[in-house]
Protein backbone atom coordinates (compact mmCIF):
# COMPACT_ATOMS: atom_id res chain seq x y z
CA UNK A 1 0.00 0.00 0.00
CA UNK A 2 1.67 3.09 -1.31
CA UNK A 3 0.77 6.74 -0.81
CA UNK A 4 1.74 9.32 -3.36
CA UNK A 5 2.02 12.84 -1.98
CA UNK A 6 2.93 16.15 -3.42
CA UNK A 7 1.72 19.69 -3.84
CA UNK A 8 -0.69 20.44 -6.64
CA UNK A 9 0.97 20.40 -10.02
CA UNK A 10 3.65 18.03 -8.85
CA UNK A 11 2.41 15.28 -11.16
CA UNK A 12 0.52 12.97 -8.78
CA UNK A 13 -2.52 12.63 -10.94
CA UNK A 14 -0.43 12.29 -14.11
CA UNK A 15 1.47 9.42 -12.53
CA UNK A 16 -1.78 7.80 -11.50
CA UNK A 17 -3.27 8.20 -14.96
CA UNK A 18 -0.21 6.59 -16.49
CA UNK A 19 -0.37 3.77 -13.97
CA UNK A 20 -4.06 3.43 -14.78
CA UNK A 21 -3.39 3.27 -18.54
CA UNK A 22 -5.69 6.24 -18.95
CA UNK A 23 -2.83 8.27 -20.38
CA UNK A 24 0.20 7.34 -22.45
CA UNK A 25 3.84 7.93 -21.53
CA UNK A 26 6.84 8.97 -23.61
CA UNK A 27 9.85 7.85 -21.57
CA UNK A 28 10.70 5.10 -19.17
CA UNK A 29 9.15 1.71 -18.71
CA UNK A 30 5.98 0.47 -17.03
CA UNK A 31 5.74 -3.20 -16.19
CA UNK A 32 2.34 -4.49 -15.10
CA UNK A 33 2.16 -8.13 -14.07
CA UNK A 34 5.37 -8.79 -15.98
CA UNK A 35 4.30 -7.13 -19.21
CA UNK A 36 5.43 -3.87 -20.71
CA UNK A 37 2.70 -1.29 -21.08
CA UNK A 38 4.55 0.87 -23.60
CA UNK A 39 2.71 2.02 -26.72
CA UNK A 40 -0.57 0.21 -26.11
CA UNK A 41 -3.48 0.93 -28.36
CA UNK A 42 -6.89 1.92 -27.05
CA UNK A 43 -8.23 -1.60 -27.25
CA UNK A 44 -5.50 -3.42 -25.40
CA UNK A 45 -5.23 -0.74 -22.74
CA UNK A 46 -8.96 -1.13 -22.19
CA UNK A 47 -8.39 -4.87 -21.83
CA UNK A 48 -5.53 -4.47 -19.34
CA UNK A 49 -7.55 -1.95 -17.38
CA UNK A 50 -10.43 -4.30 -16.94
CA UNK A 51 -8.13 -7.23 -16.20
CA UNK A 52 -5.67 -5.73 -13.71
CA UNK A 53 -6.84 -2.34 -12.52
CA UNK A 54 -9.55 -0.84 -10.36
CA UNK A 55 -10.20 2.87 -9.95
CA UNK A 56 -11.45 4.93 -7.04
CA UNK A 57 -11.96 8.65 -7.61
CA UNK A 58 -12.26 11.67 -5.37
CA UNK A 59 -15.70 12.54 -6.74
CA UNK A 60 -16.77 8.87 -6.81
CA UNK A 61 -17.85 9.05 -10.48
CA UNK A 62 -20.77 6.75 -10.07
CA UNK A 63 -23.25 6.74 -12.97
CA UNK A 64 -26.15 8.50 -11.35
CA UNK A 65 -29.00 6.88 -13.25
CA UNK A 66 -27.84 3.42 -12.24
CA UNK A 67 -28.39 1.82 -8.83
CA UNK A 68 -25.52 0.92 -6.55
CA UNK A 69 -25.62 -2.71 -7.67
CA UNK A 70 -25.71 -1.74 -11.37
CA UNK A 71 -22.77 0.59 -10.89
CA UNK A 72 -20.79 -2.19 -9.28
CA UNK A 73 -21.74 -4.59 -12.08
CA UNK A 74 -20.65 -2.25 -14.87
CA UNK A 75 -16.99 -3.41 -15.19
CA UNK A 76 -18.24 -6.99 -15.48
CA UNK A 77 -20.50 -5.90 -18.31
CA UNK A 78 -17.45 -4.77 -20.22
CA UNK A 79 -15.72 -8.05 -19.43
CA UNK A 80 -18.63 -9.90 -21.00
CA UNK A 81 -19.82 -11.59 -17.82
CA UNK A 82 -23.40 -12.85 -17.99
CA UNK A 83 -26.11 -10.74 -16.42
CA UNK A 84 -27.00 -13.22 -13.71
CA UNK A 85 -23.38 -13.69 -12.69
CA UNK A 86 -22.81 -9.92 -12.77
CA UNK A 87 -25.67 -9.23 -10.40
CA UNK A 88 -24.60 -11.98 -8.04
CA UNK A 89 -21.04 -10.72 -7.86
CA UNK A 90 -22.15 -7.10 -7.52
CA UNK A 91 -24.25 -8.02 -4.47
CA UNK A 92 -21.31 -10.04 -3.02
CA UNK A 93 -18.99 -7.07 -3.26
CA UNK A 94 -21.55 -4.62 -1.92
CA UNK A 95 -21.83 -6.99 1.06
CA UNK A 96 -18.08 -6.86 1.44
CA UNK A 97 -18.09 -3.06 1.74
CA UNK A 98 -21.06 -3.23 4.09
CA UNK A 99 -23.74 -1.85 1.78
CA UNK A 100 -25.85 -4.96 1.34
CA UNK A 101 -29.05 -3.08 2.16
CA UNK A 102 -28.35 -0.25 -0.24
CA UNK A 103 -27.93 -2.18 -3.46
CA UNK A 104 -31.09 -0.76 -5.06
CA UNK A 105 -30.42 2.86 -4.16
CA UNK A 106 -29.37 5.46 -6.66
CA UNK A 107 -26.13 7.31 -5.93
CA UNK A 108 -27.92 10.52 -4.92
CA UNK A 109 -29.71 8.57 -2.18
CA UNK A 110 -26.39 7.64 -0.60
CA UNK A 111 -24.02 9.58 1.66
CA UNK A 112 -20.50 10.49 0.53
CA UNK A 113 -18.91 7.62 2.44
CA UNK A 114 -21.45 5.17 1.06
CA UNK A 115 -20.84 6.40 -2.47
CA UNK A 116 -17.12 5.90 -2.06
CA UNK A 117 -17.71 2.41 -0.75
CA UNK A 118 -19.85 1.65 -3.80
CA UNK A 119 -16.97 2.99 -5.92
CA UNK A 120 -14.56 0.69 -4.05
CA UNK A 121 -16.86 -2.27 -4.59
CA UNK A 122 -16.95 -1.37 -8.27
CA UNK A 123 -13.15 -1.22 -8.36
CA UNK A 124 -12.98 -4.62 -6.66
CA UNK A 125 -15.56 -6.49 -8.64
CA UNK A 126 -13.25 -7.18 -11.58
CA UNK A 127 -10.76 -8.86 -9.18
CA UNK A 128 -7.96 -6.40 -9.97
CA UNK A 129 -4.32 -6.74 -8.95
CA UNK A 130 -3.98 -3.01 -8.33
CA UNK A 131 -6.43 -0.39 -7.09
CA UNK A 132 -5.57 3.18 -8.01
CA UNK A 133 -7.23 5.70 -5.73
CA UNK A 134 -7.11 9.38 -6.65
CA UNK A 135 -7.76 11.37 -3.47
CA UNK A 136 -10.28 8.79 -2.28
CA UNK A 137 -10.96 10.74 0.89
CA UNK A 138 -10.80 14.21 -0.58
CA UNK A 139 -14.54 14.75 -0.46
CA UNK A 140 -15.15 13.00 2.88
CA UNK A 141 -15.08 14.12 6.52
CA UNK A 142 -12.28 12.70 8.64
CA UNK A 143 -14.33 10.01 10.37
CA UNK A 144 -15.59 8.64 7.06
CA UNK A 145 -12.10 9.07 5.59
CA UNK A 146 -10.68 6.75 8.26
CA UNK A 147 -13.43 4.19 7.60
CA UNK A 148 -12.70 4.21 3.88
CA UNK A 149 -8.93 3.96 4.49
CA UNK A 150 -9.59 1.09 6.91
CA UNK A 151 -11.49 -0.69 4.17
CA UNK A 152 -8.66 -0.14 1.68
CA UNK A 153 -6.15 -1.46 4.22
CA UNK A 154 -8.14 -4.62 4.72
CA UNK A 155 -8.28 -5.19 0.99
CA UNK A 156 -4.53 -4.62 0.81
CA UNK A 157 -4.07 -7.38 3.37
CA UNK A 158 -6.03 -9.66 1.05
CA UNK A 159 -3.31 -9.13 -1.55
CA UNK A 160 -4.43 -6.20 -3.67
CA UNK A 161 -1.86 -3.49 -4.29
CA UNK A 162 -3.14 -0.04 -3.33
CA UNK A 163 -1.84 3.19 -4.78
CA UNK A 164 -3.39 6.17 -2.98
CA UNK A 165 -2.85 9.72 -4.14
CA UNK A 166 -3.43 12.16 -1.30
CA UNK A 167 -2.29 15.47 0.07
CA UNK A 168 -3.27 14.69 3.63
CA UNK A 169 -0.47 13.51 5.91
CA UNK A 170 -2.68 11.42 8.20
CA UNK A 171 -4.01 9.50 5.22
CA UNK A 172 -0.47 8.95 3.90
CA UNK A 173 0.58 7.69 7.32
CA UNK A 174 -1.98 4.89 7.09
CA UNK A 175 -0.07 3.49 4.11
CA UNK A 176 3.05 1.33 4.21
CA UNK A 177 5.18 3.60 2.10
CA UNK A 178 4.98 7.23 1.00
CA UNK A 179 6.37 8.56 -2.25
CA UNK A 180 6.80 12.33 -2.37
CA UNK A 181 6.59 13.97 -5.76
CA UNK A 182 8.07 17.33 -6.47
CA UNK A 183 7.89 18.91 -9.94
CA UNK A 184 7.39 15.53 -11.51
CA UNK A 185 10.38 13.95 -9.72
CA UNK A 186 10.40 11.51 -6.81
CA UNK A 187 11.92 13.40 -3.90
Amino acid sequence: MVAIMGSSGSGKSTLLNILGLLDGFDEGEYMLSGESMAGLNERSSARYRSKFLGFVFQSFNLINFKTAAENVALPLYYQGVSRKERNKRAIDFLKKVGLNDWSNHLPNQLSGGQKQRVAIARALVGKPKVILADEPTGALDSKTSYEVMGLLRELNKEGITMVVVTHENDIAEMCDRTINLHDGQIA
Partner: protein
Protein backbone atom coordinates in the same frame (compact mmCIF):
# COMPACT_ATOMS: atom_id res chain seq x y z
CA UNK B 1 -23.22 -6.15 -30.32
CA UNK B 2 -26.90 -7.10 -30.45
CA UNK B 3 -27.29 -8.97 -27.21
CA UNK B 4 -29.86 -8.42 -24.55
CA UNK B 5 -27.51 -6.49 -22.29
CA UNK B 6 -26.72 -3.91 -24.94
CA UNK B 7 -30.40 -3.28 -25.52
CA UNK B 8 -31.11 -3.06 -21.82
CA UNK B 9 -28.30 -0.55 -21.55
CA UNK B 10 -29.80 1.49 -24.41
CA UNK B 11 -33.33 1.27 -23.06
CA UNK B 12 -31.94 2.46 -19.76
CA UNK B 13 -30.14 5.51 -21.10
CA UNK B 14 -32.96 6.42 -23.48
CA UNK B 15 -35.70 6.09 -20.87
CA UNK B 16 -33.75 7.89 -18.18
CA UNK B 17 -33.92 11.08 -20.26
CA UNK B 18 -37.62 11.14 -21.11
CA UNK B 19 -37.87 14.73 -22.36
CA UNK B 20 -34.88 14.44 -24.66
CA UNK B 21 -36.15 11.13 -26.00
CA UNK B 22 -39.68 12.44 -26.51
CA UNK B 23 -38.54 15.53 -28.41
CA UNK B 24 -36.30 13.56 -30.73
CA UNK B 25 -38.90 10.86 -31.22
CA UNK B 26 -41.62 13.34 -32.11
CA UNK B 27 -39.50 15.10 -34.72
CA UNK B 28 -38.66 11.82 -36.42
CA UNK B 29 -42.17 10.44 -36.18
CA UNK B 30 -43.49 13.67 -37.68
CA UNK B 31 -41.03 13.43 -40.56
CA UNK B 32 -42.05 9.89 -41.42
CA UNK B 33 -45.72 10.73 -40.89
CA UNK B 34 -45.55 13.61 -43.39
CA UNK B 35 -43.65 11.46 -45.88
CA UNK B 36 -46.16 8.63 -45.62
CA UNK B 37 -49.27 10.80 -45.82
CA UNK B 38 -47.98 12.75 -48.79
CA UNK B 39 -46.95 9.55 -50.56
CA UNK B 40 -50.39 8.12 -49.93
CA UNK B 41 -52.19 11.19 -51.27
CA UNK B 42 -49.93 11.36 -54.31
CA UNK B 43 -50.57 7.70 -54.94
CA UNK B 44 -54.31 8.27 -54.69
CA UNK B 45 -54.19 11.06 -57.25
CA UNK B 46 -52.16 8.89 -59.57
CA UNK B 47 -54.58 5.98 -59.16
CA UNK B 48 -57.51 8.22 -60.01
CA UNK B 49 -56.03 9.59 -63.21
CA UNK B 50 -54.63 6.22 -64.28
CA UNK B 51 -58.10 4.81 -64.02
CA UNK B 52 -59.38 7.46 -66.42
CA UNK B 53 -56.91 6.09 -68.92
CA UNK B 54 -57.77 2.48 -68.29
CA UNK B 55 -60.90 3.03 -70.44
CA UNK B 56 -58.91 2.92 -73.69
CA UNK B 57 -55.65 1.31 -74.70
CA UNK B 58 -52.81 3.70 -73.97
CA UNK B 59 -50.96 2.82 -77.17
CA UNK B 60 -53.48 4.01 -79.71
CA UNK B 61 -54.22 6.85 -82.13
CA UNK B 62 -57.82 7.90 -82.75
CA UNK B 63 -58.80 9.37 -86.11
CA UNK B 64 -62.09 11.05 -86.93
CA UNK B 65 -63.44 13.51 -89.49
CA UNK B 66 -65.55 16.65 -89.03
CA UNK B 67 -66.45 19.82 -90.90
CA UNK B 68 -63.78 22.04 -92.43
CA UNK B 69 -63.08 25.54 -91.17
CA UNK B 70 -61.21 26.84 -94.17
CA UNK B 71 -61.89 26.84 -97.88
CA UNK B 72 -59.29 24.79 -99.79
CA UNK B 73 -58.75 23.55 -103.33
CA UNK B 74 -62.03 24.86 -104.58
CA UNK B 75 -64.02 23.51 -101.64
CA UNK B 76 -66.00 25.92 -99.50
CA UNK B 77 -65.51 26.02 -95.76
CA UNK B 78 -67.91 24.00 -93.59
CA UNK B 79 -67.69 21.02 -95.94
CA UNK B 80 -68.36 17.71 -94.20
CA UNK B 81 -65.33 15.45 -94.53
CA UNK B 82 -66.03 11.72 -94.75
CA UNK B 83 -63.52 8.96 -94.22
CA UNK B 84 -64.21 6.10 -96.62
CA UNK B 85 -63.12 2.49 -96.39
CA UNK B 86 -60.56 3.02 -99.13
CA UNK B 87 -59.13 5.94 -97.10
CA UNK B 88 -58.64 3.54 -94.19
CA UNK B 89 -56.89 1.00 -96.44
CA UNK B 90 -54.66 3.72 -97.89
CA UNK B 91 -53.89 4.83 -94.36
CA UNK B 92 -52.67 1.33 -93.47
CA UNK B 93 -50.42 1.42 -96.51
CA UNK B 94 -49.12 4.82 -95.48
CA UNK B 95 -48.16 3.46 -92.08
CA UNK B 96 -45.16 1.10 -92.06
CA UNK B 97 -46.70 -1.36 -89.66
CA UNK B 98 -50.30 -1.64 -88.50
CA UNK B 99 -50.22 -3.30 -85.12
CA UNK B 100 -53.99 -3.28 -84.71
CA UNK B 101 -56.86 -1.31 -86.11
CA UNK B 102 -60.59 -0.98 -86.01
CA UNK B 103 -63.12 0.95 -88.02
CA UNK B 104 -66.05 2.16 -86.02
CA UNK B 105 -69.64 3.02 -86.82
CA UNK B 106 -71.45 4.95 -84.11
CA UNK B 107 -75.21 5.13 -83.88
CA UNK B 108 -77.10 6.68 -80.99
CA UNK B 109 -80.49 5.83 -79.59
CA UNK B 110 -81.13 2.39 -81.05
CA UNK B 111 -84.15 0.52 -79.72
CA UNK B 112 -83.23 -2.79 -78.06
CA UNK B 113 -85.82 -5.27 -76.85
CA UNK B 114 -85.83 -8.62 -75.11
CA UNK B 115 -89.05 -10.13 -73.83
CA UNK B 116 -91.24 -7.31 -72.58
CA UNK B 117 -88.33 -5.03 -71.68
CA UNK B 118 -86.94 -2.44 -74.03
CA UNK B 119 -84.68 0.59 -74.01
CA UNK B 120 -82.75 2.97 -76.19
CA UNK B 121 -78.97 2.49 -76.30
CA UNK B 122 -75.96 3.47 -78.41
CA UNK B 123 -74.69 0.93 -80.94
CA UNK B 124 -71.25 0.34 -82.33
CA UNK B 125 -70.12 -1.49 -85.41
CA UNK B 126 -66.50 -2.54 -84.99
CA UNK B 127 -63.64 -4.77 -86.15
CA UNK B 128 -62.19 -7.55 -83.91
CA UNK B 129 -59.18 -5.43 -82.74
CA UNK B 130 -61.66 -3.03 -81.17
CA UNK B 131 -61.72 -5.18 -78.05
CA UNK B 132 -58.03 -4.61 -77.41
CA UNK B 133 -58.06 -0.95 -78.47
CA UNK B 134 -61.01 -0.09 -76.25
CA UNK B 135 -59.65 -2.23 -73.37
CA UNK B 136 -62.89 -4.19 -73.19
CA UNK B 137 -62.99 -6.95 -70.60
CA UNK B 138 -65.41 -9.72 -71.52
CA UNK B 139 -67.46 -11.14 -68.66
CA UNK B 140 -68.86 -13.98 -70.77
CA UNK B 141 -68.76 -15.46 -74.27
CA UNK B 142 -66.67 -14.04 -77.10
CA UNK B 143 -66.08 -10.80 -78.96
CA UNK B 144 -66.67 -9.96 -82.64
CA UNK B 145 -64.32 -12.03 -84.83
CA UNK B 146 -63.12 -11.88 -88.44
CA UNK B 147 -65.70 -14.37 -89.64
CA UNK B 148 -68.48 -12.11 -88.33
CA UNK B 149 -67.03 -9.27 -90.44
CA UNK B 150 -66.75 -11.35 -93.59
CA UNK B 151 -70.14 -13.05 -93.25
CA UNK B 152 -71.95 -10.02 -91.86
CA UNK B 153 -73.37 -12.16 -89.05
CA UNK B 154 -76.03 -10.79 -86.76
CA UNK B 155 -74.25 -11.24 -83.45
CA UNK B 156 -74.03 -8.75 -80.57
CA UNK B 157 -71.83 -8.29 -77.51
CA UNK B 158 -73.75 -6.44 -74.79
CA UNK B 159 -72.51 -3.97 -72.16
CA UNK B 160 -73.27 -4.56 -68.49
CA UNK B 161 -75.88 -1.80 -68.32
CA UNK B 162 -77.98 -3.32 -71.12
CA UNK B 163 -77.74 -6.74 -69.50
CA UNK B 164 -78.88 -5.26 -66.22
CA UNK B 165 -81.72 -3.12 -67.59
CA UNK B 166 -83.08 -5.21 -70.45
CA UNK B 167 -82.39 -8.71 -69.14
CA UNK B 168 -82.99 -7.87 -65.46
CA UNK B 169 -80.59 -10.47 -64.11
CA UNK B 170 -81.43 -13.19 -66.66
CA UNK B 171 -78.53 -14.75 -68.57
CA UNK B 172 -78.39 -13.11 -72.03
CA UNK B 173 -75.98 -15.67 -73.51
CA UNK B 174 -77.51 -17.53 -76.46
CA UNK B 175 -80.69 -15.43 -76.46
CA UNK B 176 -81.86 -13.19 -79.28
CA UNK B 177 -82.15 -9.47 -78.79
CA UNK B 178 -84.09 -7.17 -81.09
CA UNK B 179 -81.78 -4.33 -82.13
CA UNK B 180 -83.34 -1.65 -84.33
CA UNK B 181 -85.95 -4.11 -85.48
CA UNK B 182 -83.48 -6.90 -86.36
CA UNK B 183 -82.85 -10.02 -84.24
CA UNK B 184 -79.26 -10.48 -83.14
CA UNK B 185 -77.95 -13.45 -81.20
CA UNK B 186 -76.02 -12.54 -78.07
CA UNK B 187 -72.54 -14.11 -78.14
CA UNK B 188 -70.84 -12.21 -75.30
CA UNK B 189 -71.11 -9.64 -72.53
CA UNK B 190 -68.60 -7.14 -71.16
CA UNK B 191 -68.12 -4.87 -68.20
CA UNK B 192 -65.83 -1.87 -68.34
CA UNK B 193 -65.53 -0.65 -64.77
CA UNK B 194 -63.61 2.46 -65.89
CA UNK B 195 -66.46 3.76 -68.01
CA UNK B 196 -70.16 3.77 -67.25
CA UNK B 197 -70.71 5.19 -70.73
CA UNK B 198 -69.09 2.21 -72.42
CA UNK B 199 -71.34 -0.21 -70.55
CA UNK B 200 -74.43 1.19 -72.27
CA UNK B 201 -73.19 -0.02 -75.66
CA UNK B 202 -74.12 -2.96 -77.80
CA UNK B 203 -71.26 -4.00 -80.08
CA UNK B 204 -71.93 -5.65 -83.47
CA UNK B 205 -69.69 -6.44 -86.49
CA UNK B 206 -68.71 -3.39 -88.58
CA UNK B 207 -69.97 -4.93 -91.81
CA UNK B 208 -73.35 -5.85 -90.28
CA UNK B 209 -73.84 -2.36 -88.84
CA UNK B 210 -72.91 -0.80 -92.18
CA UNK B 211 -75.43 -2.94 -94.05
CA UNK B 212 -78.34 -2.77 -91.60
CA UNK B 213 -78.07 0.68 -90.02
CA UNK B 214 -76.27 2.66 -92.72
CA UNK B 215 -77.96 1.11 -95.75
CA UNK B 216 -74.54 0.06 -97.00
CA UNK B 217 -73.25 3.67 -97.11
CA UNK B 218 -69.46 3.77 -97.08
CA UNK B 219 -68.62 6.11 -94.18
CA UNK B 220 -66.31 5.25 -91.30
CA UNK B 221 -67.11 7.38 -88.24
CA UNK B 222 -63.87 6.70 -86.44
CA UNK B 223 -60.64 4.78 -87.01
CA UNK B 224 -58.57 3.51 -84.11
CA UNK B 225 -54.96 2.58 -84.79
CA UNK B 226 -52.90 0.54 -82.36
CA UNK B 227 -49.26 1.58 -82.06
CA UNK B 228 -47.98 -1.61 -80.39
CA UNK B 229 -44.67 -1.10 -78.65
CA UNK B 230 -43.68 2.02 -80.60
CA UNK B 231 -41.80 4.72 -78.68
CA UNK B 232 -43.86 7.78 -77.75
CA UNK B 233 -41.72 10.03 -80.01
CA UNK B 234 -42.33 7.69 -82.93
CA UNK B 235 -46.09 7.77 -82.38
CA UNK B 236 -45.99 11.57 -82.24
CA UNK B 237 -44.19 11.80 -85.57
CA UNK B 238 -46.49 9.13 -87.02
CA UNK B 239 -49.55 11.13 -85.94
CA UNK B 240 -48.11 14.30 -87.49
CA UNK B 241 -47.28 12.48 -90.72
CA UNK B 242 -50.72 10.84 -90.99
CA UNK B 243 -52.39 14.16 -90.31
CA UNK B 244 -50.58 15.92 -93.16
CA UNK B 245 -51.12 12.96 -95.48
CA UNK B 246 -54.81 12.52 -94.69
CA UNK B 247 -55.57 16.26 -95.01
CA UNK B 248 -53.93 16.26 -98.41
CA UNK B 249 -55.86 13.16 -99.48
CA UNK B 250 -59.17 14.57 -98.30
CA UNK B 251 -58.44 18.06 -99.61
CA UNK B 252 -58.47 19.70 -96.20
CA UNK B 253 -56.46 22.89 -95.65
CA UNK B 254 -53.20 22.09 -93.78
CA UNK B 255 -54.08 24.72 -91.14
CA UNK B 256 -57.63 23.45 -90.66
CA UNK B 257 -58.19 22.34 -87.06
CA UNK B 258 -61.62 20.69 -87.42
CA UNK B 259 -61.73 18.83 -90.73
CA UNK B 260 -59.59 15.97 -89.49
CA UNK B 261 -59.17 15.21 -85.85
CA UNK B 262 -56.52 12.91 -84.35
CA UNK B 263 -55.70 12.09 -80.79
CA UNK B 264 -52.56 10.26 -79.79
CA UNK B 265 -53.23 8.51 -76.47
CA UNK B 266 -49.52 7.73 -76.15
CA UNK B 267 -48.74 11.41 -75.99
CA UNK B 268 -51.56 12.25 -73.59
CA UNK B 269 -50.53 9.44 -71.29
CA UNK B 270 -46.91 10.51 -71.50
CA UNK B 271 -47.90 14.02 -70.47
CA UNK B 272 -49.67 12.74 -67.39
CA UNK B 273 -46.80 10.43 -66.59
CA UNK B 274 -44.41 13.36 -66.70
CA UNK B 275 -46.67 15.32 -64.37
CA UNK B 276 -46.76 12.35 -62.01
CA UNK B 277 -43.03 11.93 -62.11
CA UNK B 278 -42.75 15.59 -61.17
CA UNK B 279 -45.25 15.23 -58.33
CA UNK B 280 -43.54 12.08 -57.11
CA UNK B 281 -40.10 13.68 -57.10
CA UNK B 282 -41.53 16.69 -55.31
CA UNK B 283 -43.14 14.53 -52.64
CA UNK B 284 -40.00 12.48 -52.15
CA UNK B 285 -37.85 15.59 -51.98
CA UNK B 286 -40.13 17.17 -49.42
CA UNK B 287 -40.41 14.00 -47.37
CA UNK B 288 -36.68 13.38 -47.38
CA UNK B 289 -35.96 16.97 -46.39
CA UNK B 290 -38.37 16.61 -43.49
CA UNK B 291 -36.59 13.44 -42.47
CA UNK B 292 -33.27 15.22 -42.82
CA UNK B 293 -34.48 17.99 -40.54
CA UNK B 294 -35.50 15.33 -38.03
CA UNK B 295 -32.14 13.61 -38.36
CA UNK B 296 -30.33 16.87 -37.75
CA UNK B 297 -32.41 17.22 -34.61
CA UNK B 298 -31.33 13.76 -33.52
CA UNK B 299 -27.67 14.48 -34.28
CA UNK B 300 -27.92 17.72 -32.35
CA UNK B 301 -29.57 16.13 -29.35
CA UNK B 302 -27.07 13.26 -29.38
CA UNK B 303 -24.21 15.76 -29.49
CA UNK B 304 -25.62 17.49 -26.42
CA UNK B 305 -26.22 14.14 -24.78
CA UNK B 306 -22.62 13.09 -25.37
CA UNK B 307 -21.39 16.38 -23.91
CA UNK B 308 -23.64 15.87 -20.92
CA UNK B 309 -22.37 12.34 -20.48
CA UNK B 310 -18.68 13.16 -20.89
CA UNK B 311 -17.99 12.07 -17.34
CA UNK B 312 -20.08 8.93 -17.62
CA UNK B 313 -18.27 7.93 -20.80
CA UNK B 314 -14.93 8.61 -19.10
CA UNK B 315 -15.96 6.34 -16.22
CA UNK B 316 -17.06 3.64 -18.62
CA UNK B 317 -13.69 3.82 -20.33
CA UNK B 318 -11.85 3.63 -17.02
CA UNK B 319 -13.93 0.54 -16.22
CA UNK B 320 -12.83 -1.23 -19.37
CA UNK B 321 -15.16 0.01 -22.13
CA UNK B 322 -13.50 -0.05 -25.54
CA UNK B 323 -13.90 2.72 -28.09
CA UNK B 324 -16.01 0.42 -30.20
CA UNK B 325 -18.47 -0.27 -27.41
CA UNK B 326 -18.90 3.49 -26.86
CA UNK B 327 -19.54 4.06 -30.58
CA UNK B 328 -21.95 1.15 -30.50
CA UNK B 329 -23.77 2.64 -27.54
CA UNK B 330 -24.24 6.05 -29.15
CA UNK B 331 -25.04 4.79 -32.66
CA UNK B 332 -27.42 2.11 -31.47
CA UNK B 333 -29.09 4.63 -29.23
CA UNK B 334 -29.66 6.91 -32.20
CA UNK B 335 -30.73 4.02 -34.39
CA UNK B 336 -33.25 2.60 -31.97
CA UNK B 337 -34.69 6.05 -31.33
CA UNK B 338 -35.04 6.59 -35.08
CA UNK B 339 -36.58 3.21 -35.82
CA UNK B 340 -39.01 3.16 -32.93
CA UNK B 341 -40.31 6.68 -33.50
CA UNK B 342 -40.14 6.27 -37.29
CA UNK B 343 -42.28 3.15 -37.12
CA UNK B 344 -44.69 5.04 -34.92
CA UNK B 345 -44.97 7.79 -37.53
CA UNK B 346 -45.44 5.14 -40.20
CA UNK B 347 -48.23 3.39 -38.32
CA UNK B 348 -50.05 6.63 -37.52
CA UNK B 349 -49.68 7.82 -41.13
CA UNK B 350 -51.05 4.58 -42.57
CA UNK B 351 -53.85 4.61 -40.04
CA UNK B 352 -54.82 8.17 -40.98
CA UNK B 353 -54.88 7.28 -44.67
CA UNK B 354 -57.10 4.29 -43.91
CA UNK B 355 -59.53 6.54 -42.03
CA UNK B 356 -59.50 9.37 -44.54
CA UNK B 357 -59.50 7.52 -47.86
CA UNK B 358 -63.16 6.43 -47.88
CA UNK B 359 -64.17 10.04 -47.19
CA UNK B 360 -62.41 11.51 -50.21
CA UNK B 361 -63.38 9.10 -52.95
CA UNK B 362 -63.41 11.16 -56.13
CA UNK B 363 -63.10 10.42 -59.82
CA UNK B 364 -59.54 11.70 -59.91
CA UNK B 365 -58.60 10.50 -56.45
CA UNK B 366 -58.85 6.83 -55.59
CA UNK B 367 -57.36 4.37 -53.10
CA UNK B 368 -54.76 6.54 -51.40
CA UNK B 369 -52.44 3.99 -49.90
CA UNK B 370 -48.90 3.51 -48.86
CA UNK B 371 -46.92 1.25 -51.06
CA UNK B 372 -45.20 -1.39 -48.96
CA UNK B 373 -41.99 -0.58 -50.78
CA UNK B 374 -42.27 3.08 -49.84
CA UNK B 375 -42.67 2.13 -46.20
CA UNK B 376 -39.55 -0.05 -46.50
CA UNK B 377 -37.63 2.71 -48.22
CA UNK B 378 -38.66 5.17 -45.51
CA UNK B 379 -37.43 2.78 -42.83
CA UNK B 380 -34.23 2.17 -44.81
CA UNK B 381 -33.61 5.89 -45.10
CA UNK B 382 -34.28 6.22 -41.37
CA UNK B 383 -31.74 3.52 -40.63
CA UNK B 384 -29.05 5.13 -42.74
CA UNK B 385 -29.83 8.57 -41.36
CA UNK B 386 -29.95 7.16 -37.84
CA UNK B 387 -26.49 5.64 -38.15
CA UNK B 388 -25.06 8.74 -39.84
CA UNK B 389 -26.49 11.12 -37.28
CA UNK B 390 -25.07 8.96 -34.52
CA UNK B 391 -21.59 8.75 -36.01
CA UNK B 392 -20.52 12.36 -35.39
CA UNK B 393 -21.45 12.40 -31.71
CA UNK B 394 -20.07 8.87 -31.34
CA UNK B 395 -16.67 9.92 -32.65
CA UNK B 396 -16.69 12.80 -30.21
CA UNK B 397 -17.61 10.37 -27.45
CA UNK B 398 -14.71 8.08 -28.33
CA UNK B 399 -12.22 10.91 -28.42
CA UNK B 400 -13.09 11.81 -24.83
CA UNK B 401 -10.02 11.10 -22.74
CA UNK B 402 -10.91 9.54 -19.43
CA UNK B 403 -8.24 11.69 -17.79
CA UNK B 404 -9.95 14.88 -18.80
CA UNK B 405 -13.44 13.55 -18.29
CA UNK B 406 -12.70 12.54 -14.73
CA UNK B 407 -10.83 15.65 -13.68
CA UNK B 408 -12.77 17.39 -10.99
CA UNK B 409 -14.20 20.76 -11.83
Amino acid sequence: MFNRDTWLEIAYTVLSHPLRTALTGVSIALGVFILVVMQGLGFGLQNGVKKQFADDAVNSIWVQAGRTQLAYKGNMANKSVKIRENDVEAMFEEMDTVYASSRRIRTWGVQMEYGDKAGSYPLRGVDPDHQMLENTKLTDGRYINQRDIVEETKVAVLGATIVEEVYQGKDPMGTHIMIGGVLFSVVGTFDDPASRWENKMAVVPYSTAKKLFRSGRDKVDQVILGTGDMEVVETVSLTDRLMVWLKERKSVHPEDARGIWMENNNEEYQKYQNIFLGIELFIWGLGLLTLLAGAMGVANILAIAVKERTKEIGVRKALGATGLSIVGLVVQESLSLMLVSGSLGLVVGVWLLEIVSPMIAHEYFQNPQVDFRIAMVALGVLTVVGVLSGVGPAIRAVSIKPVEALRDE
